[in-house]
Assembly symmetry: C2
């Protein structure tokens, strides 16, 4: 029962597309991640994923539309839906998703982060 300060946790890392775990509840993880540039198209077969923007803004591209999400906003991507995060400038994001969710979903590849650290 220790409180977590988001900005303090964000100050501990600077690399992109590499989520860190900051909380766990009901089988879900709370993660922090910084995005910059273009991610890979992917889907999560079994997991819904929430993106809450802490600082900055980014686009979540879907096959039929793009949604810009800014600080103080969140978007839930349902399981099975292909998406691609794209951040023109650096953005800090808090994720809520089931423990074990792989960042690149079904796509795999060089940006995959299999084992995530707690910070």
């Amino acid at each position: 029962m220790t409180k977590i300060n988001i900005q303090e946790k964000l100050s501990r890392f600077s690399d992109h597309w590499h989520p860190r775990i900051v909380g766990e509840l009901n089988g879900q993880h709370v993660k922090l991640v910084k995005f910059q540039g273009e991610f890979v198209w992917h889907r999560h077969e079994e997991e819904d994923e929430l993106f809450f923007v802490v600082d900055g803004a980014f686009d979540i591209e879907f096959r039929d539309k793009t949604v810009r999400v800014k600080a103080g906003e969140f978007l839930i991507v349902p399981r099975g839906v292909e998406h691609r995060p794209v951040a023109e400038e650096e953005v800090s994001v808090m994720l809520f998703e089931p423990a074990g969710t792989l960042n690149t979903g079904d796509a795999g590849g060089a940006l995959t982060r299999g084992e995530l650290d707690w910070i």
Copy 2:
């Protein structure tokens, strides 16, 4: 796949201790609530509960300590742990917890909100 703006949702209600649902994923609900004053001591037998402060600050009292949680911070209360939120001044909070979690847990009473609305 519609993005949710927290402040816009908060502007839609002004009563205290009455959570509204703003998102659902993986069997969990995302809720917004405004606290002011003292809530009731209670526990949730089966649900861990995350309190993320959007605006303001409040205290989460436990039987052996009190933790002050401020804007940009969150705290997870594990299932089974007695707690009581106390807000000297109004505070806006985002909750993340299993769908169906009752706000007063095992305590019941006048502050119980059984059926929550989506906003």
